[in-house]
């Protein structure tokens, strides 16, 4: 159950502020695909026979730049790839990894699918909620630092419980290890 599917309603205003993530979601949109990033996108597009295939990679680049994918970013990408903003949004809403609103600086995903579930994954998720001060799944902590969600199968079932924090993948997490892991995050 991802935060994006639960909270990112279709009718969310374009620049709604959820929490205090502060990822540059002001009133005006600063273009993302300029300079080096534009070059990188153009290089990527040479790998495919049409522009549309560059959509998922472009959305990843936007999320990397902004911390989430704003509607303005979707519009910008649509313009570059010759797709309507509505089409782009349709694709964004299908995938759970694109954030449709700002999330905590450290986005923590705990796998709780069956193989991890039988090894105590729910206790790991609870430990993250407790030590981050988030309290509830999908809610960003008041300081904007953390968001914790349960995620379906991370594909590392033999290393229960796997946890992803932004791009970092941590294996074999137990509730006892949670404070130490959080201590390494800035």
């Amino acid at each position: 159950m991802s935060a994006s599917r639960e909270e990112g309603g279709l009718h969310a205003p374009a620049h709604a502020s959820h929490g205090s993530g502060g990822h540059g979601h002001g009133g005006t949109h600063t273009p993302i695909f300029t300079g080096e990033r534009r070059q990188q996108l153009d290089e990527l597009l040479t790998r495919y026979p049409n522009k549309m295939a560059g959509l998922l990679p472009a959305l990843w680049m936007a999320q990397e730049a902004q911390g989430w994918v704003s509607e303005a970013a979707m519009e910008e990408i649509g313009g570059l790839l010759e797709l309507t903003p509505a089409y782009v949004k349709g694709v964004v809403t299908f995938y759970t990894m694109y954030h449709q609103h700002p999330v905590g600086r450290h986005f923590i995903q705990v796998c709780t699918t069956s193989p991890c579930g039988v090894c105590g994954a729910e206790d790991v998720a609870r430990a993250f909620l407790k030590h981050t001060g988030c309290g509830e799944l999908g809610v960003t902590s008041p300081d904007g630092k953390y968001t914790v969600i349960e995620v379906e199968c991370l594909g590392a079932c033999g290393f229960a419980t796997p946890v992803m924090i932004n791009e970092e993948f941590i294996e074999s997490v137990t509730p006892e290890r949670v404070p130490e892991i959080l201590g390494t995050l800035r």
Partner: protein, 437 residues
């Protein structure tokens, strides 16, 4: 070597031989271990000859369906004037399965070599490796290896100094189990929502970008170079039971077991010895109760069935289930089957693409009923309703996600019906109170 455990003497480490060895990740290290010899050899062969070798070896798809690889490749018509594509399915998302992750993490060049070789065999110049977005480390490792292979001239316009063009690109998914379904993967790669497509047309006729496409699993492609260098006969002789199942197979083992991890055995290995000798048996003081041998979508086995199984495509079918992706999930006597089956249903409900009514409604409805029973609020006629919904979810949709949700429900009601009835009669989960006491 083996990872996370050293290879057991009874394993057959072919694909996993260099797991855990960081040197094997680099191009130089891979070459020292015999890498890219098969590709060099293959680029000097005609595509038809390569397809014949793979056919002769008996290699079957390792992603779940077990379709003969050589035959799949032979569906690609040479000289049709159309661009052909190879798609490598690295969207490993089936709960219980984590073998492709290790292949990509430790032996990225094995996969690149398999992709380049496969591309040549099917008359394609481009191969895409579609990796699930959550696999951040395998992505980094694969991307670095692809860069190395281009720098070295293995990939590109003149692959390995020949006149053949072979491009391999890594494409990052964005979180959707369904994108492991082959036609959903193609839609996703094209920049669409990952909805499965109606077949026919099959990918070999109209796949990626509407062109003839072959899609193979990571483990399948990684096995091909070994077949080329060691011969089809060598591969065919790796067989302990059914001659229709050849070669070595990686099994991922997880859940309530002493030594979870990846194990590579010859097809036909006895499952009982696998579970107790290689994987160390149950945790101290516990006993095995139920086993899902091929990823969450296959029927659940009782311990008796599992212990009588020989680990190959036919052997698992003979004991009421399927080899699937080789993801072994073990539940021991502390687990409540109602709770576990409810959790699996919840997974499918979350991952349904919602395109087909039977799946969209059926996965959610099944989950609600199962969770109600687990919470002590079920009624006896819920069990009939579950079976009826399950029937309506089987064989009626575009892809098999819907069937996969119904499968564990059928297994549960057939083999552990008493647990469901106990929940309803006692109006609570008997296991939960037992654990709490």
């Amino acid at each position: 070597m083996g990872y996370p455990h050293k290879s057991h003497p009874r394993e057959t480490p072919v694909l996993s031989k260099h797991f855990g060895d960081p040197e094997a990740r680099t191009l130089a290290g891979w070459r020292q271990r015999g890498g890219y010899r098969a590709l060099e050899q293959a680029l000097g062969m005609s595509p038809a000859d390569i397809v014949n070798v793979v056919k002769e070896s008996g290699l079957r798809g390792r992603g779940g369906a077990g379709f003969p690889t050589g035959m799949k490749w032979s569906f690609m018509k040479p000289g049709d004037g159309k661009p052909h594509y190879l798609a490598c399915n690295a969207d490993e998302s089936e709960p219980g399965t984590f073998k492709d992750r290790e292949i990509m993490r430790w032996t990225p060049h094995a996969l690149i070599e398999g992709c380049a070789l496969g591309a040549h065999a099917i008359g394609a110049e481009t191969a895409y490796i579609y990796i699930r977005g959550e696999f951040t480390e395998p992505l980094r490792v694969m991307e670095a290896a692809v860069r190395e292979a281009y720098r070295d001239g293995i990939l590109g316009k003149n692959a390995m100094g020949t006149t053949k063009r072979v491009d391999v690109h890594v494409h990052k998914g964005a979180g959707a189990y369904i994108c492991g379904e082959e036609t959903a993967l193609m839609n996703s790669l094209e920049g669409r929502r990952g909805n499965p497509r109606i077949k026919p047309p099959f990918p070999a006729v109209s796949g990626l970008f509407g062109q003839p496409t072959t899609i193979n699993n990571v483990e399948t492609l990684a096995a091909v170079p070994h077949i080329l260098t060691n011969s089809a006969q060598w591969y065919k002789e790796m067989c302990l039971s059914s001659p229709k199942s050849t070669g070595s197979k990686l099994f991922s083992v997880c859940g309530n077991i002493r030594k979870p991890g990846n194990y590579e055995v010859t097809m036909g290995f006895p499952f009982k010895e696998f579970l107790y000798d290689l994987c160390g048996g149950p945790l101290p003081g516990r006993t095995f109760k139920a086993i899902i041998p091929g990823g969450s979508s296959v029927p659940i086995q009782t311990l008796d069935e599992a212990e009588a199984t020989l680990m190959d495509y036919e052997g698992f079918v003979a004991q009421g289930t399927m080899l699937g992706s080789g993801g072994v999930i073990v539940f021991d006597d502390t687990q409540c089957m109602v709770k576990q089956i409810a959790r699996l249903a919840r997974f499918y409900a979350h991952e349904s693409c919602a395109q087909c009514t039977q799946c969209r409604e059926g996965t959610a409805w099944t989950t609600r009923i199962l969770e109600r029973i687990e919470n002590g609020e079920g009624q006896m006629d819920d069990l009939d309703t579950l079976l009826e919904i399950g029937e309506n979810m089987t064989g009626k949709t575009i892809c098999v996600l819907s069937d996969s949700c119904a499968t564990p429900v059928f297994s549960g009601l057939q083999k552990w019906r008493h647990e469901f009835e106990a929940h309803i009669k006692q109006k609570r989960c008997p296991m939960r109170s037992a654990v709490a006491a």
